[in-house]
């Protein structure tokens, strides 16, 4: 569970948002929607501890949170294979038993994300959807109870978007993984998420997912 109370953030004199109050329950599949620059990524960074809030509190039940960031610098020359890329997030160990456990964990995650067959391919050479799956797999390595996806579907074809979201939905159903999905895609919001939080006028309000519409993603005048 993540409980946010009276949360505000300013960068210098500039107010990003104020008095955010909401709760995300275990097993939730929630979308965070709003125009560019409304503070979605900033909020997420505060939740995972990469940024400090200006005031207010965030209570979590001590759970691990996996975060899949919006941008990654992976060009076609990127050398690591999919499996080696995912392994970057593993803790080093010399204990043979722990190494075996790590290998099992990697295999399980590869299987869950459908990457087993292409695990040896260089990450730089696979498709956008497969890259996103690899990013997702890397974040799943710490066995998070909550997964935050920051615009993970942004640059993908409709079909690939749906495949990725089917996978996330499956993780949500089967393993009760809480999912926070930051997105600009109202079709995906309607199709996959159970609840939505809308950034509006420097604050946040709950909204019925079926009422999410295109104009909510446009800049405020």
């Amino acid at each position: 569970m993540i409980k946010v109370e009276n949360l505000s953030k300013r960068f210098g004199n500039q107010l990003v948002f104020e008095n955010l109050n909401f709760q995300i329950n275990d097993g939730d599949f929630i979308s965070l929607v709003g125009p560019n620059g409304s503070g979605k990524t900033t909020l997420v960074k505060i939740i995972i501890g990469l940024e400090k809030s200006s005031s207010g509190t965030i209570k979590t039940s001590g759970q691990t949170i996996g975060y899949v960031p919006q941008f990654r610098n992976i060009d076609s020359d990127y050398p690591l294979s999919i499996e080696q890329f995912i392994r970057l997030n593993l803790k080093i160990t010399l204990n043979p038993e722990k190494r075996r456990q790590n290998n099992d964990l990697i295999n399980t995650i590869l299987q869950r994300t459908g990457l087993t067959e292409i695990k040896d391919r260089p990450l730089g050479l696979v498709s956008g959807g497969e890259k996103q799956k690899a990013y997702l797999a890397q974040a799943l390595l710490n066995d998070p109870k909550t997964l935050i996806l920051d615009e993970s579907t942004a640059s993908l074809d409709v079909e690939v978007k749906n495949q990725l979201m089917d996978l996330v939905q499956e993780l949500n159903h089967k393993y009760q993984l809480t999912v926070i999905f930051i997105t600009h895609d109202y079709d995906l919001t309607k199709k996959y998420t159970k609840r939505a939080l809308l950034f509006k006028n420097k604050t946040i309000e709950p909204i019925d997912v079926q009422k999410v519409s295109k104009d909510m993603f446009e800049m405020e005048g």
């Binding site: 995972i48 990654r72 610098n73 050398p79 080696q84 970057l88 080093i92 890397q138």
Partner: protein
């Protein structure tokens, strides 16, 4: 050729240089810092001339200058676009300073050529020991920080998202890079130290797909390069740097061709 003491010393020193540069190079390449390593070698040249001018060891002068400037670059600019520009500016300043220091000091210009282009003769047993200690220090740092440094170098954004202290890792890396430049410049010269710090690792990137394998290939290529270079320099009396850079460049293009061939098959 091992009948000569200077060749034995040069051989030991260059072995340590090759291991360090091959290892550090993997991280230079993955962090896109080839340009910075080039600049650091020019700064190293200024540092060495400064050392000669004030009468301290050129190696100490080099370490001093590269350490200060790498930390300055690291803390001044985190954005890569700005980094490129600030590196160019710093680099120009230091080449100028290096030339000034040399002209002010009473040392002959042959000393300057040695610093710039490297030399296998005239490296003393004492200097070899200094190099070995520095190289072992750099290698130890990499063993200790191997895992987080790999994560940060090969997936900086992912490492940040996973909560790693990326700024601390960056400074640690820059310190070891500065030391590696100072170590490497002793044999291949400050202008071409970046050959060993970039090309073997860039070649490895085209051939293998894991961090440990990249380190093995990169260290291997840089060892073969310096050993072959020393041997050929000994029998031809041509500069060692010429042979090392030629070998590494050929290996690089072979690696690139291999990658392209694999893509089409």
């Amino acid at each position: 050729m091992f009948g000569y003491e200077f060749m034995r010393e040069a051989f030991i020193a260059s072995t340590f240089i090759a291991i360090t540069a091959g290892l550090v190079g993997v991280f230079v390449v993955s962090r896109n810092m080839s340009f910075l390593s080039h600049t650091l070698s020019e700064i190293g040249f200024a540092g060495a001339s400064f050392g000669i001018l004030i009468g301290i060891s050129p190696l100490v002068g080099m370490i001093l200058f590269t350490l200060i400037s790498s930390i300055a670059v690291g803390s001044l600019s985190t954005e890569s676009s700005r980094r490129e520009a600030s590196i160019s500016a710093i680099s120009s300043l230091f080449i100028g300073l290096g030339i000034l220091f040399l002209s002010l000091s009473s040392e002959s210009s042959s000393y300057a050529t040695n610093i710039l282009f490297g030399s296998i003769v005239g490296i003393s047993a004492k200097e070899v020991h200094q190099l070995m200690i520095l190289a072992i220090f750099v290698i130890l740092i990499f063993i200790i920080f191997y895992k987080p440094l790999s994560f940060d170098s090969f997936d900086h954004i992912g490492a940040q998202a996973a909560g790693l202290k990326t700024r601390l890792l960056s400074i640690t890396f820059l310190v070891t890079l500065a030391l590696s430049v100072s170590i490497g410049a002793q044999i291949v010269g400050s202008l071409l130290v970046f050959v060993l710090l970039t090309l073997p690792a860039a070649t490895a990137k085209y051939i293998v797909h894991s961090v440990p394998k990249m380190i093995i290939v990169s260290v291997g290529l840089s060892l073969i390069g310096v050993w072959l270079g020393l041997y050929l320099a000994f029998i031809t009396n041509w500069p060692v740097t010429f042979f090392i850079s030629t070998f590494e460049v050929i290996a690089y293009f072979l690696g690139l061709s291999y990658k392209n061939w694999r893509l089409n098959h």
